[in-house]
């Protein structure tokens, strides 16, 4: 007797993703512009959380500086289009690679140390990027942020942008899903479970971790580009450590050892943020309280917790 789960598992990932994506698009006629915009943001946060999960869930590396790559993606797009006159689409395509390059630089240092030190280093380097962007007013306009990002004609308007976001997130999801089944990801999981043993059987642990870190940075860059383009502005908040906390919390909320969990966790968190900010500006306070409660009450993640009971 097959369970429903197993039956769903037989359907190819592409088809599954297309069905979900199609279902999302079917909502367009019934949703208001505000709701569509909210859905877009939820999807982007979901992608951001998925990108961290490559590092956190599969690599077992607790990064507290993931906002750096999200923000660098957004800022690359903003600076390239508004100051350097790079065509929008080209800038959108390049930006994630700049994030990946940043991931390589920070990761090169961070993977030299394991566990706690890795967390310390990612947080320190993440905040360093924030400080540099904050202080380099000539280029980044500091805490004013950069406004007025140009939008290509075909993405003008909320509905086309929503469709575009659904498409990009779907492609990224499928890419990540395939990555999970590659020998690379399996090796990475092995390093997560026992780095010493992995090393004994000939795995270059640091190199594996660095590659995972760079991949995570790349997809975080994609999320940053999507968000910057959606808002048509970037601010230093994108790089601040509160932003690093959000995907972490999303992974915890959704369950970090699952593939789809972080996507839902991220979407849920974004919904909560948007709703909260309509009533009060103390989002950071609420985020902190949720984090503390989650750690004390449901450390395996709400989804993982529901699954068990």
């Amino acid at each position: 007797m097959q369970t429903l789960r197993e039956q769903i598992g037989r359907v190819p990932v592409w088809t599954q993703t297309l069905i979900v994506g199609g279902a999302l698009l079917a909502f367009i006629p019934v949703l208001s512009e505000f709701q569509l915009s909210l859905f877009t943001e939820m999807l982007i946060m979901g992608l951001f959380a998925l990108s961290l999960n490559i590092v956190l869930g599969y690599g077992g590396m607790v990064s507290f500086g993931h906002a750096a790559f999200y923000g660098v993606g957004g800022y690359t797009l903003a600076i390239a289009t508004t100051r350097l006159g790079v065509p929008v689409l080209l800038a959108m395509a390049i930006a994630p690679f700049v994030s990946a390059l940043m991931g390589f630089i920070i990761g090169w240092f961070a993977v030299r140390r394991a566990n706690l030190y890795f967390s310390i280093l990612t947080l320190a380097f993440g905040q360093l990027v924030y400080l540099l962007v904050f202080q380099a007013r000539d280029i980044t306009k500091g805490d004013d942020g950069i406004q007025g990002l140009p939008v290509p004609d075909f993405l003008e308007g909320i509905v086309p942008y929503f469709i575009f976001t659904v498409g990009v997130v779907m492609v990224c999801f499928v890419l990540m899903r395939h990555l999970v089944q590659t020998p690379f990801m399996l090796t990475l999981k092995a390093t997560r479970e026992n780095a010493e043993r992995a090393q004994f059987i000939g795995v270059d642990v640091r190199q594996q971790q660095l590659m995972a870190f760079v991949m995570g940075a790349f997809f975080a860059g994609v999320a940053g580009v999507l968000m910057a383009q959606h808002n048509r502005f970037v601010t230093v908040d994108m790089l601040f450590w509160t932003t690093s906390a959000e995907p972490l919390l999303a992974c915890l909320l959704g369950g970090m050892y699952t593939l789809t969990g972080p996507l839902f966790g991220g979407a849920l968190l974004m919904l909560l943020e948007v709703v909260t900010l309509r009533f009060t500006s103390y989002w950071s306070l609420l985020l902190g309280i949720i984090t503390i409660m989650l750690v004390l009450v449901a450390p395996k993640g709400v989804l993982g917790w529901l699954k068990r009971s």
Binding site: V62, N115, L132, L285, G288, V295
Partner: protein, 298 residues
């Protein structure tokens, strides 16, 4: 660049490095005994600074604003530390690192917003008493001036370093702490209440963070965001010096203080002086991945 200017900047760097040392020593001490990295350590430092400004306002008529703040604010922070340890941290010692870090990170976010609610976003200062204002002439450096308060800071730093060293190596409580680091079960089996040791060490670490906050409040401005600024600097210190090492914390803090201070002499570097600690940290990571005084872990 005249050599006298550089020497003065080095002294200024030692003074600011001492504050960094006091805060980092607290973080390092808590890690050494409890094995938890407290991301909220910078928040406790910020609380110390904000409390100090309030206490000094409250005591302004008596003329004891600064001394009152210096005595009371770190104590209040230590008291909060007792509550936090007993209420939150004690539940997570056995948990994996991720959960410990997330808990303290959550605390950071909570404190940041609470400070915003309680004190608001305006920039504050802790006024110095008259006898600490002003500066002295250093004749041997061509008559260059050096702030009196900075001399006091260097003194306080030396006293704290010696005091902590004495506490850990020359007192019964220090022996218990060192024994706890080596083997908590054994210490517990010998009839020592381990929980009290943990609470005490945590409170002492928080007291140091609060003290650092008061000391900085009288030197530069008190504002939101100082928590993040400090925690990443202390992280740079412990990466440079090695976590859990007092001497390492002192060395790392002085290095960072001096490099940042001397960096301000050069107009090309000055705007990015905040980044200098991480340049030092990165260099140390390349040369000695486990810190200057650290040992390879596991």
């Amino acid at each position: 660049m005249p050599i006298e200017s550089v020497v003065v900047q080095i002294l200024v760097g030692v003074a600011s490095g001492m504050i960094l040392f006091i805060v980092s020593a607290g973080l390092s001490l808590i890690f050494g005994v409890l094995r938890v990295i407290n991301f909220a350590h910078g928040s406790l430092y910020m609380l110390g600074a904000f409390l100090a400004t309030s206490i000094s306002m409250w005591l302004v008529d008596s003329g004891l604003g600064f001394l009152g703040a210096l005595l009371l604010a770190p104590l209040l922070v230590a008291l909060l530390g007792v509550v936090l340890e007993a209420g939150l941290f004690r539940r997570i010692y056995a948990q994996e690192h991720l959960l410990q870090l997330l808990l303290t990170f959550g605390l950071t976010l909570v404190v940041a917003d609470l400070v915003r609610v309680l004190w608001g976003g305006e920039i504050r200062r802790l006024p110095l008493p008259e006898w600490l204002e002003g500066s002295i002439r250093l004749e041997f450096l061509g008559g260059r001036r050096f702030r009196t308060y900075d001399i006091v800071l260097i003194g306080v730093g030396v006293v704290m370093a010696l005091g902590l060293w004495g506490l850990l190596t020359r007192t019964a409580w220090g022996r218990t702490i060192r024994a706890t680091v080596d083997n908590p079960e054994m210490v517990s089996a010998l009839g020592v209440n381990i929980n009290t040791v943990y609470t005490g060490v945590f409170a002492l670490g928080c007291w140091l963070a609060g003290l650092g906050g008061v000391l900085i409040a009288a030197r530069s401005s008190v504002a939101l965001g100082m928590d993040a600024q400090m925690i990443i600097q202390t992280f740079a210190v412990v990466v440079i010096g090695g976590l859990g090492s007092f001497l390492g914390a002192l060395l790392g803090a002085l290095m960072i203080g001096i490099v940042v201070s001397v960096g301000t002499l050069y107009p090309q570097i000055a705007p990015f002086s905040q980044a200098l600690p991480f340049v030092v940290m990165a260099l140390v990571l390349i040369v000695r991945p486990y810190g200057l005084l650290g040992k390879a872990e596991r």
